[in-house]
């Protein structure tokens, strides 16, 4: 009674073997039993090798992995059914009790566990002759070998890792991780892969990636053999490179990371010592040993390694002797001199040279302003004759002599010389009839017509008559200092920075923290300037992009200031290009621009406001010269395409191609690609070219030819500024032919008429007429107007929240010493 069951099992097993053999044979006939090519994309499977070396693919067996098989029993006890155990009290139960007889059937069910037999499901249908049956029972004893899908994946991953195909290897391991996170051997393999891939990336030069992988491994298993050494070597290489490039904050950050991994590693200690040694060496390199050089050396040293108490103390002491303001700008005056050709010149001209008249106030006209040369101005002959009295006792910065009437007369005459394009001003040349010094202290000016605003023509910088055309005197072959009369003197000027020092007289009675040195440092673009400002390298930045104002304002250490007048963005057009002389083409350009959309998406990165809005002319909204009732300039891509095609026909041009020059100001850089795209939609090809702002402005003002130029304009007085705003070369020498660059002759005639206006009402009327006609004539393409901002750090005290110019009230500013600390050291 105990035999039948084993017989049935044996029969079933033998049947299964036959069937599986048949299936395997049929599979072998139809397709070889191989691992699928793409393990990542295939359905999971296990590979079972039968005693006759037949390999079958089955769906993953369960449980995984299978428990170990039962060891084979001795030959004598080959029966599968254990002997029946009879309890001592007997196995005959009382009536109503369950039977105590243990039947062999129950034990037989126990024998069918996974350690003995498993259910398998063929991974693919086999031609077994039994229909679509794919489920079978398989004795463990009849399995020669089973390869689990996870192991197959791991093996394939290993092969790929050996072939340095780390990405695919990782994908294989990842599949194992998804299927069975605790699969034996997975973790070790992942660690090995991270190490191998990290090492490979380091040797390939991809240090950042290599370090990231090794750091990840370090986080998983800090004691991985050789890992710390590998990481330390890689970090040391990067830190050395950062030191070579002068990227000290980056080098310190890396060192901090390395020390976080292992502070005791030899390289970390060596690099820390290297930084400190570099800082000490820089601090010791002070050139001639002036306060300025000492301060620069200490600042550089502390920027290399801020955490040095003795250097910090020395820095504070030297800074107190020479309070220095570093300003981050995107352009510097190159070269500085007694002229105003660019926004950078406008910033520093007042610091280097006193004007004849500081402003148009009665106080200035009476000579009561200390920051001007005039001790008084007398006007006779209905304003056509002016006598300027020159203040006594204002020395030139070279100490040679005081400013005299001769200097003033020469400066005014120089501005009429068309052969001196740096100083020439066409409007002044047209206005001045004669200028001559009456004596040492008085200059007489004969004008062809009275000045509308005296200060407009008399607030230009006055250079020394004994200096050369560039405003410098020759002391030696290499020493050619710029001679000025302002509160600061130019100590050094390069294309990347300008270093101004307070003259002794100007700062004699100044407070302890009052500025004695001002240094403008040029960065390639607004992003770099802003980064330097945020790092603390500069305490003041001359321009904050509109979309960064909110971010900067959120920093408690930063204050945002606003320039009193908004700026208007326009595309200046050169009418000397026949394409741009064509009215239809100019209208196509204007119609192509979605002013509101671009303003909100690229400039403001938020909704427009009453102060930041699309422009319909060059004068800001609300200005007295802003003509009321002018229809806004429309965006109409359909008309843009149609008019561009019409212009192409009129000009018989095959293609409409232009170059757009623009200054590297953050918001301009953001919007120029969008403008180019908008023009391209109208089938107008525009090539954008970035040009440093001062270079672009000074060249345009000198009458250089161009196609289109992106200009950011600030309008102080529309009547006086209209010409240069609309026609960049309006004041250029006649030889440049820049008047012809006005794309609309009608607007040019109105500008010239405005220039001849003798009294304010007619001048205002002409300015309004210009604004009204500008919308139709389009001598420039107005874009938008925005609020212009600057920002300073809290170590600087004094800047007003609203200012006409960046350095307004500079004489009252104070600055405290400060060196940026590393975030982890604060």
């Amino acid at each position: 009674m105990t035999r039948p069951a084993p017989h049935r099992l044996a029969a079933a097993a033998s049947t299964l073997l036959i069937v599986l053999a048949a299936a395997a044979a049929s599979l072998g006939q139809d397709a070889p039993v191989v691992t699928p090519d793409d393990l990542l994309g295939s359905y999971p499977f296990d590979r079972i090798t039968l005693p006759d070396d037949t390999v079958i693919l089955v769906e993953p067996v369960s449980p995984r992995p299978l428990p170990p098989t039962e060891p084979p029993k001795a030959k004598g006890s080959s029966s599968l059914i254990p002997p029946t155990r009879i309890p001592l009290e007997g196995n005959v139960g009382l009536p109503g009790e369950p039977s105590k007889v243990e039947t062999p059937r129950a034990n037989a069910r126990k024998e069918e566990g996974p350690d003995v037999v498993i259910n398998v499901h063929l991974a693919r249908e086999a031609a077994t002759g039994r229909g679509d049956a794919r489920d079978f029972k398989l004795k463990r004893a009849h399995i020669k070998k089973i390869e689990y899908f996870e192991d197959v994946l791991l093996a394939e991953g290993d092969e790929l890792a050996k072939a340095r195909d780390f990405t695919r290897a990782f994908e294989h391991y990842l599949r194992v991780q998804q299927r069975a996170p605790d699969w034996p051997g997975l973790t070790d393999r992942v660690h090995a892969l991270l190490f191998a891939e990290g090492k490979q990336a380091l040797s390939d030069g991809d240090v950042a990636r290599g370090l990231r992988l090794l750091r990840e491994l370090h986080a998983r298993r800090p004691d991985y053999p050789g890992l710390v050494d590998q990481i330390a070597a890689a970090y040391a290489g990067r830190i050395d490179r950062a030191i070579e490039l002068g990227l000290y904050p980056e080098g310190r950050r890396l060192l901090h990371e390395l020390e976080g991994i292992s502070a005791d590693v030899r390289q970390a200690q060596e690099l820390r010592a290297k930084f400190q040694e570099l800082a000490r060496a820089r601090a010791a390199r002070v050139g001639s040993g002036t306060d300025a050089e000492r301060l620069d050396a200490l600042v550089d040293a502390l920027r290399i390694w801020p955490d040095q108490a003795e250097l910090q103390a020395e820095y504070a002491r030297v800074f107190a002797a020479l309070p220095t303001l570093d300003v981050a700008v995107t352009d510097v005056a190159t070269p500085p001199g007694p002229w105003v050709r660019s926004p950078a010149d406008e910033r520093v001209a007042r610091l280097l040279f006193r004007p004849i008249l500081a402003d148009d106030s009665e106080e200035a006209r009476k000579g009561e302003r200390p920051d001007q040369l005039a001790a008084g101005i007398e006007a006779t002959d209905l304003g056509r004759r002016l006598v300027v009295k020159v203040r006594a006792g204002i020395p030139w910065s070279d100490g040679s002599r005081d400013v005299s009437a001769l200097d003033v007369a020469r400066a005014l005459i120089d501005r009429c010389n068309p052969r001196d394009p740096l100083k020439y001003q066409a409007r002044w040349a047209d206005l001045l009839d004669r200028a001559r010094p009456l004596d040492e202290r008085q200059v007489e000016l004969q004008l062809k017509r009275p000045l509308l605003r005296t200060s407009f023509q008399l607030d230009a910088p006055v250079g020394a008559a004994h200096a050369g055309a560039d405003g410098r005197v020759v002391l030696s072959a290499r020493d050619r200092p710029l001679v000025g009369s302002g509160p600061f003197a130019c100590f050094a000027a390069t294309p990347d920075s300008i270093d101004l020092r307070a003259v002794a007289e100007a700062s004699g009675a100044a407070s302890a923290g009052a500025l004695r040195r001002l240094r403008e440092v040029r960065y390639d673009d607004s992003a770099a300037a802003t980064a330097a400002f945020l790092r603390g390298d500069a305490a003041l930045i001359d321009h904050v992009p509109p979309f960064q104002a909110a971010t900067l304002a959120a920093d408690p250490d930063v204050t945002i200031g606003t320039y009193a007048r908004p700026v208007v963005h326009v595309l200046a057009l050169d009418g000397r290009n026949p394409l741009l002389r064509n009215r239809t083409f100019r209208r196509a350009l204007s119609y192509a621009i979605d002013r509101k959309g671009l303003l909100e998406e690229s400039i403001l990165r938020g909704p427009s406001t009453a102060a930041d809005l699309p422009a319909d002319g060059v004068f800001p909204r609300g200005d007295p010269a802003d003509a009321p009732g002018v229809k806004p300039l429309e965006h109409n891509p359909v008309l843009a395409v149609a008019l561009a095609a019409l212009a192409r026909g009129e000009l018989k041009a095959e293609a409409l191609k232009l170059k757009l020059e623009y200054p590297p100001i953050a918001e301009v850089q953001a919007v120029v690609p969008r403008l180019v795209e908008a023009f391209a939609m109208a089938r107008i090809t525009v090539e954008p070219v970035a040009v440093p702002r001062s270079k672009l402005e000074s060249e345009l003002r000198a009458g250089r030819r161009f196609d289109m130029a992106y200009r950011v304009l600030r309008c102080d007085e529309p009547v006086l500024d209209a010409g240069p705003m609309i026609c960049p070369g309006y004041d250029a020498p006649p030889s440049a032919g820049a008047l012809a660059s006005a794309a609309s002759p009608r607007i040019l005639q109105l500008l010239l008429r405005l220039e001849q206006a003798a009294e304010w009402p007619s001048a205002r009327g002409a300015a309004v007429e210009i604004d009204r006609e500008l919308r139709d004539e389009l001598p420039v393409i107005p874009l938008w107007q925005t609020v212009d901002r600057f920002a300073w750090r809290s170590r600087l005290k004094g800047p007003a929240e609203t200012a006409e110019r960046l350095y307004d009230g500079l004489e009252t500013w104070e600055i405290a010493p400060w060196i940026a600390k590393d975030p982890w050291a604060r």
């Binding site: 008309l639 002759p745 009608r746």
Partner: protein
């Protein structure tokens, strides 16, 4: 009173001049002008830097004379001055006609030629001017590079061809053309190159007026040129290109006669200064255009500067051009013919700047722009409507018609134009010192009215509207014809 006189008696003053020269030459005065060769004195001097010594100079002149003989023939009778005029030198371009003295009275023309070197290339350069003794006219400054010293005789020959200007008598007018009897034209030329006059030869007319003291005043008729259209024998038939309606008028109080002198474009830039006729202030910021006479394509020359000045360098046109000064881009302030390079001296030209006309011109331009935009937008909508109608997308058509109706009507443009015209008329009545409704402005008004009438008609949209209405009506009729549903029982 008609002061037109027969030409014959008026030739007397010129005849006197000619008599003087012929007597001095010992010739018979009866020789007709067309048979008389030109007696030309060559004054050739050289800059020491040119290294043209006596031997080289003599050799150059000899070979040049040979070329003259071969290509021009007897119509040029050349005398080489042993001692060149002291005027020949660096300042030749600035010499005035009155300064020319001491020339042989028997010659018709004197060629003042200065051989020098180009400071940039050190090549030999010939510079020179022609002085016409009969009219006391000093011709334009000419310049020619000598590419090689070996080529110097040929270069000198070509240069003298540039210098040579034929003289002529204006013997009458016919069909709006001037008839010129050209000196030496009846003498056969040795080659075509040496023809005294040919088609295209340009002359300037000069009036010789006998004054009360029997002296002769020589006056050039300004801004007038005679361009030879055909040559018949010794008579050239010339087109009159002038800024004036009747430049060769005989309505002159004193006895006078008309002569003509050939002119060729020189290398100097023309210099002009335009001033406001009323204020005498500079006419700054006006556009100057140039076109070959009589009506070639216009070319933009430039813009007057703040002082009203502008230079016109010799352009591609080697003949008479018409210069036009424009206010804005369209309103002409002045138009006159000129020969490029004929003089380097500055000329002042007074113009009316037409400020009011320019203002209305600008407003008309703005109106024209608005109309063109409307034409483009309407055209696009009409094309879309046509597509919708063809596709029987009636709802789409209806939406487009609504969009079309939102566009400004043609009547609104008509009203704006009429209002502008009324304003201009009123301004024209009120303005006394300047013209408002210029011919150009009136033409612009007419043109814009034509634009409104021709391109802003609503015919297309009306047709589509009618088609839509018709369709709707058909649909309504079809709906009405559909049998009513049977009434429910009871």
């Amino acid at each position: 009173m008609d002061r037109q006189r027969p030409l014959g008696p008026l030739i007397a003053p010129l005849a006197l001049l000619l008599f003087a020269t012929t007597v001095a030459r010992g010739e018979e005065p009866a020789t007709a002008i067309e048979n008389r060769p030109y007696r030309i004195a060559l004054h050739l001097a050289s800059d020491p830097a040119a290294r043209l010594g006596d031997r080289l100079r003599d050799e150059l002149v000899a070979r040049w004379l040979e070329l003259v003989r071969r290509f021009v023939g007897p119509s040029w009778s050349i005398e080489v001055a042993e001692t060149p005029s002291p005027l020949v030198g660096d300042g030749l371009a600035r010499v005035k006609a009155e300064e020319v003295r001491g020339l042989d009275p028997g010659v018709d023309k004197a060629w003042l030629i200065w051989a020098t070197t180009d400071p940039a290339t050190s090549d030999l350069v010939l510079e020179g001017r022609e002085y016409d003794a009969g009219t006391r006219w000093l011709g334009p400054f000419q310049r020619r590079d000598v590419l090689s010293p070996l080529d110097a005789p040929r270069a000198l020959f070509l240069f003298t061809l540039d210098l040579f200007s034929p003289s002529a008598l204006i013997v009458g007018q016919e069909g709006g053309r001037a008839l010129l009897k050209v000196q030496g034209a009846a003498i056969p030329a040795a080659s075509d190159l040496g023809a005294t006059v040919a088609e295209g030869t340009t002359f300037i007319p000069i009036r010789l007026i006998t004054m009360r003291d029997e002296s002769i005043r020589i006056t050039r008729i300004a801004f007038t040129y005679l361009v030879a259209e055909s040559v018949e024998g010794s008579t050239a038939r010339c087109a009159i290109v002038s800024a004036y309606r009747d430049p060769l008028s005989q309505r002159i109080a004193r006895p006078n006669t008309l002569t003509a002198l050939g002119i060729k474009p020189g290398g100097d830039a023309l210099r002009f200064r335009f001033v406001d006729r009323t204020t005498k202030g500079p006419a700054a910021g006006y556009t100057l255009t140039e076109r070959p006479a009589p009506d070639g394509p216009a070319r933009n020359v430039g813009m007057t500067d703040r002082s009203g000045r502008i230079e016109v360098p010799p352009g591609p046109t080697r003949g008479v051009v018409k210069l036009r000064l424009l206010a804005g881009d369209a309103e002409p302030l002045a138009e006159f013919p000129i020969m490029p390079g004929e003089s380097g001296e500055e000329r002042e030209i007074a113009v009316d700047p037409l400020p009011l006309a320019s203002k209305y011109q600008a407003r008309l331009d703005a109106l024209r722009d608005a109309i063109i935009d409307q034409v483009a937008l309407r055209g696009r909508l009409e094309r879309l409507m046509e597509t919708r109608a063809e596709g029987e997308d009636w709802s789409g058509l209806e939406a487009l018609l609504k969009e079309y109706d939102l566009l400004p009507s043609s009547a609104s443009f008509g009203e704006a134009l009429a209002k502008l015209k009324d304003e201009a008329l009123k301004a024209a009545y009120e303005a006394t010192r300047t013209t408002v409704l210029t011919r150009n402005l009136q033409a612009q008004f007419d043109e814009i009215q034509g634009l409104i009438d021709g391109y802003l008609a609503d015919d297309a949209s009306r047709a589509f509207g009618e088609a839509l209405a018709s369709r709707k009506k058909k649909e309504a009729d079809a709906a009405a014809r559909k049998p009513a549903p049977p009434k429910p029982p009871g």
